[in-house]
Symmetry: D2
Subunit: 416 residues, 4 copies
Amino acid sequence: MRDFSVADMDMAPKGKQKLDWAWQYMPVLSSLERRYSGERPFDGVRLAACLHLEAKTACLLRTFARLGAEIFAAGSNPLSTQDDVCAALVSEGVHVFSHRGMDHDSYFGYLRDVLSSDPEIIVDDGADLVATLLDERKDLIGKVKGGSEETTSGVKRLKAMERQGILPFPMISVNDADSKYLFDNRYGTGQSVWDGVMRTTNSLIAGKVVVVAGYGWCGRGVAMRAKALGARVVVTEINPHRAFEALMDGHEVMTMDSAAPLGDIFLTLTGNLDVINARHMDKMKDGVILGNAGHFDVEISKSDLTSIASSVSEVRPNVTCYRTKDGRNIYLLGEGRLVNLAAGDGHPIEIMDLSFALQLLSALHIQRSHGDMESRLYPVPEDIDRLVVSTKLESLGVSLDELSESQKAYMVDWRE
Amino acid sequence: MRDFSVADMDMAPKGKQKLDWAWQYMPVLSSLERRYSGERPFDGVRLAACLHLEAKTACLLRTFARLGAEIFAAGSNPLSTQDDVCAALVSEGVHVFSHRGMDHDSYFGYLRDVLSSDPEIIVDDGADLVATLLDERKDLIGKVKGGSEETTSGVKRLKAMERQGILPFPMISVNDADSKYLFDNRYGTGQSVWDGVMRTTNSLIAGKVVVVAGYGWCGRGVAMRAKALGARVVVTEINPHRAFEALMDGHEVMTMDSAAPLGDIFLTLTGNLDVINARHMDKMKDGVILGNAGHFDVEISKSDLTSIASSVSEVRPNVTCYRTKDGRNIYLLGEGRLVNLAAGDGHPIEIMDLSFALQLLSALHIQRSHGDMESRLYPVPEDIDRLVVSTKLESLGVSLDELSESQKAYMVDWRE
Amino acid sequence: MRDFSVADMDMAPKGKQKLDWAWQYMPVLSSLERRYSGERPFDGVRLAACLHLEAKTACLLRTFARLGAEIFAAGSNPLSTQDDVCAALVSEGVHVFSHRGMDHDSYFGYLRDVLSSDPEIIVDDGADLVATLLDERKDLIGKVKGGSEETTSGVKRLKAMERQGILPFPMISVNDADSKYLFDNRYGTGQSVWDGVMRTTNSLIAGKVVVVAGYGWCGRGVAMRAKALGARVVVTEINPHRAFEALMDGHEVMTMDSAAPLGDIFLTLTGNLDVINARHMDKMKDGVILGNAGHFDVEISKSDLTSIASSVSEVRPNVTCYRTKDGRNIYLLGEGRLVNLAAGDGHPIEIMDLSFALQLLSALHIQRSHGDMESRLYPVPEDIDRLVVSTKLESLGVSLDELSESQKAYMVDWRE
Amino acid sequence: MRDFSVADMDMAPKGKQKLDWAWQYMPVLSSLERRYSGERPFDGVRLAACLHLEAKTACLLRTFARLGAEIFAAGSNPLSTQDDVCAALVSEGVHVFSHRGMDHDSYFGYLRDVLSSDPEIIVDDGADLVATLLDERKDLIGKVKGGSEETTSGVKRLKAMERQGILPFPMISVNDADSKYLFDNRYGTGQSVWDGVMRTTNSLIAGKVVVVAGYGWCGRGVAMRAKALGARVVVTEINPHRAFEALMDGHEVMTMDSAAPLGDIFLTLTGNLDVINARHMDKMKDGVILGNAGHFDVEISKSDLTSIASSVSEVRPNVTCYRTKDGRNIYLLGEGRLVNLAAGDGHPIEIMDLSFALQLLSALHIQRSHGDMESRLYPVPEDIDRLVVSTKLESLGVSLDELSESQKAYMVDWRE
């Protein structure tokens, strides 16, 4: 078992500076750290994590460490791993296994490194740790107390496991907490995707036709901000209620086949594969820009892009040009991986503060209550969900109204 | 048992013109009417309804009638009843019991009239029919097959009955259907409240401080449109997640005590009572405008308004001026009843088309399946919910994408 | 010379109530009235006005009267005249000549009545008073000191007169003042047009395709609010800069020929004629709604509507249905006259407060300085323009920053 | 006279790639290049430019070069100069004098290098070339045919020279063209400032209090996008009309003294100095972020920041932390220089395409018509302004309506 594997330990000071910047805009996580610092509830607990290894997640890992955990962390995405942040974490005692640009084999090698720690708690992002454990390390079942999962895509996979009866231990679906999906998926993705697109392309958004595939919470956020930046937004959907909601929000709704020749910028947020494929690419204009903001790099078919291309080249950082045989340029951002992470800094700090507070408290819940839990997918306990957002409001100095006794009574009475 | 009781049958032609106008913008309801016109599934069924008796609800009642039902309808609100519409319904064979401006005693008298029809199906709005039945007509329990309820407030009451074990028959909560709450409560209320405020006051919304009490679906809609009309929006809430969502949407959040001295226009959408009371009124500016968009006229305390007033007068249609003892004018719209109904025409037609299609199909579900249902509160069956919005999209010519076989497989698989 | 001519003096009390409501939301006009009430600068001055005779303009006329003027007022539009307001004005000593629904001949008869007062100052709206004077009362040239004009359309006509060298006396173009066009044309029209459309039709705006003809200040306002209410906005223009601005604001731009088959609601704000004509009407969908918000009822060709119709009928207040020979319904709002006045209460009170303050001070400027003025079209003097908006800000308690001495010096220096 | 001075010629290939990316999104400039490529109207003309030396301006310089000009170019800002772009330009024959991070002395040295070319035409940005010529190279007066100026700040300086009677040759104010200020200052600055802030800080904008100093076209754009991103916007102004416009747009307006303790992010766009000074800094919260988007780095007083600081350090790229003596962190972005250029890529490409097309055609106008021009500040000729935006619309496939003969006649007639 290796102790760590990162690109360059000399980058630690720069990484630390990044962590410090993020930390000051994380009032919820820092409030929780202060609260539990005496108790150290994770003392000696081995925790395996697969996460985007950038400054904000690093703050979560550091908090786990400060509360006593021994942490083994792999990066969840080759383009989101930041080598200086990895080095900084190692310097603070975290066992990190990742490097920016790692290939498929390295990635799974790192997951194995992390699982070789005999972890008690798992913090997953996309369910790759759990899936790898199921495939290769069934021996760990029974040793792991449980874990948490952050993303819509990961939860989808865990549900599939649950349906098949093979989910190996209790998992908490952080993604479905009100403090997560209402904010992270909408305001976080909504802002960070456009941050990523703008910095990567220097394109004007106003006046552009932006095609948003999928009108879930992430898609709603991306469409809302696109419109706010002056774009004309076209939404594609498979669900009629969401389609109608998009219409009511002032967007146009059509099939991807109809949208393909209209769009200037295409963004996928469906959680599914081949949402943009050769049939659509054939109809696109010269100079279109494609980006994915779903968890995996499968939404835009890269094999289809390659098959219609006469040449492929990197023309800017994070921009690949597929030159089609009929002479058009189709640009793919961040290799079709999460555009806000591959071509940006991911979600804004303040958003992740909430999500990570949920992660921390979910892990604590597993640690304390796993004996009473089954091998099921659990929601975040309501009191945790409420504590997180209340701590946030408190940090902002925002006060709420409280129900009077007569109002409480009125709410549970059926007589007027 | 009376046959009907309305203000003036001579008004029927004008009422009919109103119905015809609404009908042409109701593609979903008219599509369903065509679909079931051969079968006449309600043939001979006695149906008791308590609804806002204006043009759009009249279209629902007319459709029930055309599909065979014998209908007994009371108005759910003295200010929303339109006498011409009532007359038109009577001329089409509906037994209507209501008149605009009816007092409390007349209102309950009419409910009794309606219940005296020995109804089989109940279409309720605010749960007053069910509550009156529980109080006065327990003999009907066992005869009624079931019913549906339209509003958040009514569902709250039915839930209270269910908790107490006294809900007398199966009720379907139309309010919780996706085709209802996503659209009616947000876009319907969002638009119609401002329509009502603007036409009643001729006030400029831009630059005003608008205080929105409650950030549920109705409150979100009203706040969204206030901001869109150029107002500065202040939200008051008791729920921290909703409060934080309001902040993320760019609104300010504070207690009503803090908001009271800032606001120019106050709108309540909480479903609770005394949300604005004397303590707040004491701090308000001269010339403020108060309106309620919750179901009942209890959110703004009218007794508190009266107690702080030195004089009360009607200064414009639907505007009551409470002159305070310290010389300020506080204006109450529509007597504190639903401002979009009391001082406007209620929700836009296209929105009610969806809600009424749900009502129609829910009643049909009760009619067909009541034998298999318990005395519980049921959600709208998913296939009904989906049919309604799909019919709407079809009427707009909007097409959706469909999942390919490989995409379907991907969605239920946990291996990437 | 008649003293006055209105529909019904018994309506005066109701009219007075309307004036009182408006007055309390007019801090600028009331502040000016207080300021000049000692001096009475218009004592004995005969003033002829042609204005929309509703509550707000009535406040302007009342202020002129309280400052000493003898006023002769005609209504500028048959559908905007409110008979109760006319009666109230007469009861306060204003000579009013108008009635709601007046025909073309009555209208010009009233203008002649007003001009028969031998006026010294003219307050015009659409330039009809000046045009009639030029056509029929050239004897008044030399007696009139000057006047002011409120609308874009009127200013266009006065400019034509100026180009032809026949403008008979100095006129101040109130329309071009910053305190007018920035606010009245954009926020005033933007809100009031939608108020008028919503109350008249009960249509949902969200999800509709709204076609806005003309992207001047009025069109910008109407398009901005349409988008804010959830519509998809299509703009038609003849000016490339405005067209591009519309694109940048997230709207679509196309010719009216292309827009005709797409639109659900069409609004004209061009100041030109036949903007929507038979060629476009032929392509429109069943059930479309047409409204005009330009000054004159010429933008939508009513003769073309009539020529393509097999029947014409009033189906709702302010809604005329043109049933086309091929079986479609095309609805025209307010007979093609200004939809916010014909089918609503016109601009919000607070907006008109600014415009009327400009009118008052412009008339005062004419009164005092006409000896130094030529028969030209003048802008509102800058100090008046500034005084008006500063008084408004003061009434709102808003403070501005002030330049320090070093900042003033920096602004006029070219060395850094 | 040196031939060129750049940091590293090896960076040319990377710079060329940047130019190629920008070029494909510049349909107007490329259309003009094609149009004049046969004629080569600048053949042998010596042109001195002071511009932000990044990819887009480089495209303008390249177009000048391809149309025959001999170009001498200095960078207008030490932080906006991109060394790879400079190298690429040199490789295409442009004489470039700049390097990223140049100090004050180098900067003026480079201006002198450029002026030593004996230029015939000047393309200025901030008026530094003209000011230096006036100070040091009066001998060039009479040789220079004229020039153009891009920025609001530069135009302000040229106006000061004109008032003093020392403007040495005709200058065209590109900034005041409709194709420039309507789009560049509003949509360009509006987007790029937020691109710069987001990428530099990773801060969430939603829910933040953003203070915008100055509500000119740039300020309007920045405030509009801030609101669109979910912020609460506070505007400070010295002009009452602008202040009221900000209120109507839904923002709050107050003095900087009042805004200082409320803001999370402060952005200055006034064109003046010391807009944020020690008096304000003393009241700010811990962790506030300050950025400037006016032309010069004088709007936020850096000397005041230094004087209240106990330590100063660079904590992230383009973020300087001023640690105050009372323990707060105040962060300054991009050393107080234009945040969208110092900490981003400047305006979006499509916006600059319009501005540069104006520059190109203005220089052409000078070249052809300077004999008929005086030493004054000229607006961009209207036909140029119109040609630029029409070419843009054409590239987008957007069609406009055209006036019919009867409509043209109507527009110049005063009879209805």
